[in-house]
């Protein structure tokens, strides 16, 4: 019989693996015969192992360059940022040096072409944000502000002279910038901002007065991209420099979130700004929103980095901690939480990767970015809170880092468009009806 002859031929070879193939092949005679005769044909595809660290094989969807960028930067973050962050957060100390260090690595304004910037893909930018935020959201905020909220508007809306003057120094981390849009009385509602810019034709300057608050980097910033309402009612962007009379940046005290980065106000008391410092190529809220979308994309990736840290840390803790004679991880309640974390992080990363590819092809709409910023931040906050709970009492100690992420993600969920505001952006896109204001 065909099957028996094939089986004997296979068994005469003393190799164990072939016998295994033979026994498996006993299922169908045809298969066994084919297996014996076509020994040159490759074996059955190897069984795919599930990798909980990368459940949907994100790695396989990245280019070699993106992998190298991520790996190199991950090493820097783990070796140079992680050791600093505990004390930086505890004592609310901002290490200004990290901006210069990141500048040296070329990760500031990475998507900009020219002016000393790397000119890499948006997917790479996302991977960079994820690695920094794996360490701390405050550090990633500093990177996002410098790249998306300072370098990007100058690059997208500025003159050639402004780009030459500021971009290379911002890219190197020689100077630090900040972004002034939010005001004490106008957060989600920037269109009714009270900061005014009055043009003086005689001196060719603008006089800007107003107050901005919750400004990352402002206490240490050398320049500020400030958005003010001009006399024609249009919002425009201005580059203010430290040293201008009337420009001050008091620090905001008593923060429980993003303590490793410096946050403050921008107070402008009739600051005279030369007209060369106006960003001429945009007017209206499209300007700041373009910047915010750029930053929000990075945050969508970044928040998942923080979530990944919390998930991995909780997993390790529950494997190590023995209660009632078994590791905590043996318990169903723990495993369910980890399964939920794994799922959300994996799905979130896939969506961010796809969004990044769309952005690189210039096929992304702002609502897509809103959707993913909202999703990543909301899910990451949940994951961090769950992880904190899994660590029990130790979870409230900053030595275990998770509580720091819990505190940070409160801010990350709120800034750059709160969770609810992004819901309204999507709601308007879904229904065609805006629900931001009471008027129609």
């Amino acid at each position: 019989m065909a099957l028996r002859s094939a089986f004997t031929r296979l068994l005469s070879n003393s190799r164990m693996s072939v016998a295994v193939t033979a026994s498996r092949a006993q299922g169908t005679a045809v298969a066994a015969q084919k297996g014996a005769e076509e020994a040159k044909k490759p074996a059955k595809p190897a069984k795919v192992a599930f990798n909980w660290r990368d459940a949907l094989n994100l790695e396989g969807q990245l280019t070699e360059e993106e992998i190298m960028i991520r790996d190199s930067f991950r090493d820097y973050c783990q070796e140079k940022l992680m050791p600093r962050v505990l004390m930086a957060n505890r004592h609310e100390h901002f290490h200004r040096e990290i901006v210069s260090e990141m500048g040296e690595l070329g990760v500031l304004g990475p998507t900009i072409k020219g002016y000393g910037c790397a000119g890499t893909s948006y997917v790479a930018y996302g991977l960079i944000a994820r690695e920094v935020e794996r360490v701390d959201s405050g550090y990633r905020s500093v990177m996002s502000v410098q790249s998306s909220l300072v370098m990007h508007p100058i690059n997208a809306y500025g003159t050639a002279a402004q780009k030459e003057k500021y971009l290379p120094r911002l890219a190197r981390g020689e100077i630090v910038g900040c972004f002034g849009l939010t005001e004490p009385n106008h957060g989600s509602d920037p269109s009714s901002m009270e900061t005014k810019a009055k043009y003086n034709p005689s001196s060719g300057t603008f006089t800007i007065s107003g107050a901005k608050t919750w400004i990352t980097n402002s206490p240490v910033a050398d320049i500020a991209v400030v958005w003010a309402k001009c006399e024609d009612g249009r919002v425009r962007g201005f580059i203010l420099e430290r040293g201008m009379k009337g420009f001050s940046t008091p620090k905001i005290e008593g923060k429980f979130s993003l303590r490793a980065s410096a946050t403050g106000m921008i107070l402008m008391d009739e600051v005279e700004v030369p007209e060369e410092n106006l960003l001429p190529n945009v007017s209206g809220l499209g300007g700041p929103f373009g910047c915010l979308n750029n930053a929000r994309y990075g945050i969508a990736w970044g928040a998942l980095g923080a979530a990944e840290f919390c998930f991995h840390a909780a997993r390790q803790y529950t494997l190590d901690r023995i209660q009632f004679g078994v590791p905590l991880a043996r318990n169903q309640l723990m495993q369910k939480k980890m399964a939920d974390m794994l799922t959300e992080i994996t799905i979130g990363l896939q969506s961010c990767l796809y969004l990044g590819r769309l952005v690189d092809e210039k096929k992304a709409a702002p609502e897509m970015i809103s959707m993913l910023k909202r999703n990543s931040c909301g899910k990451a906050l949940d994951i961090a809170r769950q992880a904190r709970d899994m660590l029990g009492g130790n979870g409230i100690s900053d030595e275990y880092h998770i509580i720091r992420h819990v505190m940070n993600l409160e801010a990350v969920n709120t800034y750059e468009g709160t969770h609810d505001i992004h819901a309204l952006i999507l709601g308007r896109a879904i229904t065609g009806l805006q629900s931001f204001t009471v008027e129609n």
Binding site: M68, F73, D75, L105, A124
Partner: protein
């Protein structure tokens, strides 16, 4: 002198990975496991790039022996500042049996072909811990060797070297051309910067086969069995 330095870089399982022995005890699990450049090779690359930045040498050529994936390791060396790469293609059973003797023959052949002034290697690889390739390469070429280097300085056509040895530090002076193997404290390897990673794409990697260099990679060693060390027993207080 050509001013050319050959740097050997080996693709190994990443140092942070937990190693597992294959169920059939023929080796360790490598499929789907994270690999990266051997840490001592990173130190060697860093030293070569530093010498080039000081303008003491002209060109850094990164060499790796292994399958297609070894090109990733060469790419990392290029991102750190090497100028071009040579991938010696060894795969399958030949790769599983590749050891210091064959690699040193390959490096010796390449050194002659490329007219290298210096060969920089890591002192050993973290997967086999052989600590033999540098020494064998020097012997095959009849070149001086400076192993376990923790300080290297070029002085004309000689090299001042500090070696880390059991008794302390040994200062030697050797002629060029020479083989140097890097020890831990020689330098701190740089992080590859984004712009350099992107420039590395344009640098050339040439693929050759051992036969092209007249080297036979058949191994004289046969691995009989690989097994885990005995499990640690609990102690008693």
């Amino acid at each position: 002198m050509s001013g050319r330095v050959l740097v050997g870089v080996k693709r190994v399982i990443d140092y942070a990975v937990k190693i597992r022995v294959k169920p059939d005890n023929t080796g360790v699990v490598t499929d789907g496991v994270k690999h990266s450049m051997n840490p001592f090779c990173e130190i060697a690359v860093e030293e070569a790039v530093k010498l080039k930045e000081k303008k003491l040498i002209k060109e850094v050529v990164a060499v790796s022996c292994g399958p297609q994936q070894s090109q990733e390791t060469i790419r990392t060396a290029l991102a750190m500042g090497a100028d071009r790469g040579i991938h010696v293609d060894v795969s399958g059973k030949d790769y599983e049996n590749l050891g210091p003797l064959q690699v040193s023959k390959i490096l010796a052949a390449l050194a002659k072909q490329e007219d290298a002034q210096l060969i920089l290697l890591g002192k050993q690889a973290i997967d086999d811990d052989c600590n033999q390739t540098g020494q064998m390469t020097a012997a095959l070429l009849d070149w001086p060797q400076g192993t376990f280097a923790s300080e290297v300085s070029l002085e004309g056509d000689k090299i001042n070297l500090v070696r880390e040895i059991d008794g302390g530090l040994e200062h030697i002076k050797i002629n060029t051309p020479a083989v140097i193997t890097a020890d831990l404290r020689l330098n701190t390897p740089r992080y590859a910067t984004l712009p350099n990673i992107m420039k590395a794409k344009k640098k050339k990697i040439v693929t050759v086969k051992p036969a092209d260099l007249g080297v036979d990679v058949t191994s004289r060693l046969e691995v009989l069995k690989v097994e885990e060390p005995p499990q640690r027993q609990a102690g008693r207080v």
